[in-house]
Amino acid sequence: MAAIAQTAPERIAATDAVLEVRDLSIDFLTPRGPVQALRRVGLTVPRHSTVGVVGESGSGKTTLISAAIRLLPDNAEIRGGEVLFEGQDILRMSPRQLRDLRGRRISMVFQDPMTALNPVLSIGTQMVDIQYRDKGLSTAAKRDRAAEMLRRVGIPDPRQRLDNYPHEFSGGMRQRIAIAMALLGNPELLIADEPTTALDVTMEAQIIHLLRELQKDYKSSILFISHNLGLIAELCDYVVILYAGTVVEQGSVRDVFHRPSHPYTEALLVCDPALLQETTRELPTIPGEVPDLAPPPPGCIFAARCPKVFDRCRVEDPAATWVAEGHMARCHLAAGRT
């Protein structure tokens, strides 16, 4: 694989960043050989902002966030790079430091709220438990905080409902509770992995709206993973487009959605049926499949499916090109443009 020439470190904005992923490469060791799940991925989550990661299946988005909290599976091997949280490298922290970080300074909301909720404990018990680090607070005070948090995320009768169990709530409510638990520690970074994929569209709209408000109120940053472009446009300030383990484009949401500079981004926008003005019986698609990453093909990772591919693409891996201030695309065409 040709070395990727970097003109500048991959920063979206030169301002203060809560999370900075630099040059991250992760392999999975499988019986077929090492699978290069992430290759020199870089992204930045500035303070008080929301960054969306768009990735379809096989993009490596799950690996990326697993790396961010260092909960990678046993057969994952970090080939290089750093994940800097407030300047400190998560990949090199001790287990003690990680425990301190998780749930308090970085928290996560998953697609299935039951990942975070213990079915045999009341939610009040759980929400008090996770405040275990606040040794000065009494249990009553912790319950107060929990009830207030529930109220804030829109659970009616929060005080009474502290004694309810997760199964007594609907899916949408459970996700709200999971968000409440994630924000209890007032984290600097909230990682949300497809939090609304399992919800109905009306509930999804409410949760997105809630996240927007909470992000402003609590001044956290959000790293929002989704395959739904519409949600990213609704919620995020910046977006990172991930394809087969490579960041192919990133920038502000306006720049990327209005002036997409990578054929994959363009194709994604075209394929979204919500965006198609004329009704059509022949929906656009991106033909082909995500390439096998054990090992990845030479040249640009998107070459096999790119509608604008030419010879150079199959041979040389494109470098990151800054098509505008804070807007990057990894494409030979984009480089030709600037």
Partner: protein, 341 residues
């Protein structure tokens, strides 16, 4: 003229507890109504979209039409046939012309069978053993655009899109007239969901199929369905030609659903959310119009009186006391009328 499928006042109930327990607990009616008073007709060669969120009863309706769940009351007539009785045998002849595609493409394939066994199973089940199963398998795989070497694969070796194609191939085995597709694009990436939809449309053209598509994805309904119905808590709240419904949604729920669709344009962010709250539990149905608890335009009459279906234009029907559209404006945008009211 009779339609391919006619459903009249269909009601499907599920028991929540046994009769003894119900008596002990003092519960008079230990049932949940999943589908209530649903009537519609489906003309051959068209595509009908059944839209709703969870708890709307759309999947149950699809399964009831297939005969996989027993119906409580009402009638289903398919190709002029009405199944007599509830057993699987009563549905056998009727089922030969109808096939279903399930929501989870990999889970709907029996894990220990090869693709070839799976797609030729309908032949074996219906006693058509005389056919050359290898040839049939190849024909079906070809029809859905899968290379013939897939015949030897197992479901866990297929990607979501490939498994869906196998599901389509299996559904096509006995050359059905109607295919009920339950969430055909669920779990598929945006970049590939077009593949399965384009395939379905092409097959419709080539084989003269009729589709009943069950989905919560309004965006695809707009593109490939001729007509649609919106379900809420087991009832049809709005029904009509797709273009007309999208252009002028008449029911507040339809309006809310459309407003809730996120749009991939950062300059079109919504500041407020139109539909708040959640679908009420089926065990505790609201009085009057069941949508009144969430309707931004609810009035007293809505709380007291349940709206009956009313026609508001050619092919359009609505259950609402205060439709958002005046009847004249509810005319379909095209003059294609796939079914009668």
């Amino acid at each position: 003229m009779s339609a391919l499928l006619e459903v009249e006042n269909l009601r499907v109930r599920f028991r929540t507890m046994g009769p003894v327990r119900a008596k002990l607990a003092g519960v008079a009616d230990p049932f949940l109504d999943a589908v209530l008073d649903v009537s519609f007709r489906l003309e051959a060669g068209t595509t009908f979209g059944l839209v709703g969120e969870s708890g709307s009863g759309k999947s149950t309706l699809g399964r009831a039409i297939m005969g996989l769940v027993p119906i409580h009351s009402g009638r289903i007539r398919f190709m002029g046939m009405e199944p007599k009785g509830r057993s699987d045998r009563a549905f056998a002849g009727y089922r030969r012309n109808m096939a279903m595609m399930f929501q989870d493409p990999v889970a709907s394939l029996s894990p220990r069978l090869t693709v070839k066994s799976l797609i030729t199973e309908p032949f074996v089940i219906h006693g058509l053993r005389g056919r050359n199963l290898d040839a049939e398998a190849r024909r079906l795989l070809d029809l859905v655009g899968l290379p013939s070497h897939f015949a030897g694969r197992y479901p866990h070796q297929l990607s979501g899109g490939q498994a869906r194609r196998v599901g389509v191939a299996r559904a096509l085995a006995l050359e059905p007239k109607l295919i009920i597709a339950d969430e055909p694009t669920a779990g598929l990436d945006v970049s590939v969901q077009g593949e399965i939809l384009n395939l379905m449309v092409r097959l419709q053209r080539e084989l003269g199929l009729t589709y009943l598509i069950i989905t919560h994805n309004l965006a695809i309904v707009r593109h490939i369905c001729d007509a649609m119905a919106i379900m809420y808590m087991g009832r049809f709240v709005e029904r009509g030609p797709t273009s007309a419904v999208f252009a002028h949604p008449a029911h507040p729920y339809t309006h809310g659903l459309l407003a809730a669709q996120p749009h991939p344009d950062p300059d079109r962010r919504r500041e407020t959310v139109e539909l708040t709250g959640e679908v009420p539990s089926l065990a505790r149905r609201p009085s009057g119009c069941e949508f009144h608890t969430r309707c931004p335009w609810a009035q007293d009459r809505c709380r007291a009186e349940r709206p009956q279906p009313q026609s508001i234009g050619p092919g359009r029907e609505l259950r609402c006391h205060f439709p958002l559209v005046a009847p004249a404006a509810a005319a379909p945008a095209t003059d294609r009328m796939p079914f009668q009211a």
